[in-house]
Subunit: 294 residues, 2 copies
């Protein structure tokens, strides 16, 4: 099942036989104090650097979250979408918990965006899915409802089913435009969470075959050596069926791990992309060394 995302000039396809889709997480003020202050002043200059670093790192889609406290998030989302689309042709993932912000972003965005996210709560489904349908976007569904973030993979599958059913039958959103997040919790809080995430991925693959995404950095939250944890998590999740992740696309180690998944899981014919990435890295290092020595 292929999910097609588009900018004005570029198409990115997420699917089980496709290269793992790296969604850059960086354009998000959470945990970034200076960026928060800049956003409150309407200063988006930092976004330019975030775009450049993520594009250079290997991002294939960029997540955009403007949720800085006390800022006008809808206005910022509109400005950010315009700015980012002037800087790169990567498709965007519009990320907000506020419906008006998602709507403002969708109205501004040129192309087919990914909406991040809807839950299985009735009021959220009823508010967000019509927007997704109207703008012909794709959407990420989180399998939690009013009651709980379920621990049981079977219960997550049920709630994913509710999202998929509602999206496809009530709002005529094609099933390939619904991505499910199997929920990746911090391993530091409970060392059994990843096993449940992997089980959920397997269940989703067997039952629905939908595309999937998750916030990969979340797994390592609060632990030392975070990159090494995420670098080991991605191959497990990818082998269990994960087809994209919102992750740190600036990290060479993580991007290499995602590309190694493609190579190892037979999504990189002849290893051509792996070898090309190696050659590009060698060329870049050689050029940098030459510049440094002059």
């Amino acid at each position: 099942m292929d999910t097609v995302l588009r900018s004005a000039g570029k198409e990115v396809v997420i699917g089980a036989g496709r290269p793992f889709c790296i969604i850059g997480e960086r354009i998000n003020p959470t945990g970034r104090r200076i960026f928060c202050e800049q956003l409150r002043r309407g200063d988006l200059s930092r976004v330019e650097l975030d775009v450049a670093q993520q594009v250079a790192g290997g991002a294939m889609v960029l997540d955009v979250n403007m949720g800085a406290p006390l800022a006008d998030e809808a206005e910022l989302m509109v400005a950010a979408v315009k700015l980012i689309q002037s800087l790169t042709d990567l498709p965007l993932c519009l990320d907000s918990s506020i419906i008006e912000v998602l709507e403002a972003g969708l109205a501004t965005y040129e192309g087919k965006a990914l909406v991040n996210s809807v839950t299985a709560e009735d009021d959220r489904l009823e508010a967000i899915l019509p927007l997704v349908a109207r703008y012909g976007a794709a959407v990420i569904g989180l399998p939690n409802d009013e009651e709980e973030i379920p621990e049981d993979p079977q219960r997550r599958l049920e709630l994913a089913g509710k999202i998929i059913e509602t999206a496809t039958t009530r709002y005529q959103i094609p099933i390939e435009d619904v991505l499910i997040d199997p929920l990746a919790m911090p391993i530091g809080a409970d060392t059994s969470v990843v096993v449940r995430t992997l089980e959920t991925l397997e269940l989703l693959r067997q039952r629905y075959g939908v595309n999937t995404t998750l916030g990969a950095s979340n797994v390592s939250f609060g632990m030392p050596d975070r990159t090494a944890i995420v670098a080991a998590f991605l191959p497990m999740a990818s082998a269990a069926g994960l087809t994209s992740a919102i992750m740190d696309a600036r990290s060479a180690e993580l991007v290499r791990a995602a590309r190694a998944c493609d190579l190892l899981l037979n999504r990189d014919d002849w290893g051509a992309s792996w070898i090309a990435a190696h050659r590009a890295a060698v060329s870049a290092a050689t050029a940098a060394a030459a510049t440094a020595s002059t």
Copy 2:
């Protein structure tokens, strides 16, 4: 199912709920020209460094292969086992294709060794399994026979079954002392090989629940950025049920990947080992910096 290996003074347990067992691959002349020449002269001095580096890196068992062309392999195996057991209390994996070499090694070894390896070929089973039984060792079974190294995971499962049946019924070797190698071939030759290895691991887990091992470095043979490939392979294989690997225990990246598997797959209570390894690395770096600045 727990496989217990022993040296004179130490016990190592391989099992699905246990930390992933890192078997150091380094004491092996394959591809090491100078080491080959040293072995032909009976010079084992290099083995001391190999032991020290692998122990420091995090090896839990050491593979010992003395297969240098034109050398007296049995004599070298005896000398190497004696030497290594004087240097470390890690259990050993005696690695040879020659039955007399395995026998000489087993006769010398103090403890319960792992024998690497037997195939599903009748003459190999009849020659090696009696040795394994007589010395109370454990053994690695490779699911290939006279005819073929099968590509089909189901056929690999059948040949693994033949090895397990023969070992347990004809030679009364406990099933927990038979490890199966699901066969890890170079991804560079055929990008579908790892998918088949993972399928074989799943089948072995479902059907027999035996412990498993493989030569992890082999997967990356002939490709650039080999360590990154193996670092992504280990988490996939570990999640599919792999309980040990013969690998480069000197590589901090690979040892960290194996430990991340333990953390992520709920084999590291409270993440205690992960955090302890992080602290040890920080202390070592601090000590090294202090030494460098004096």
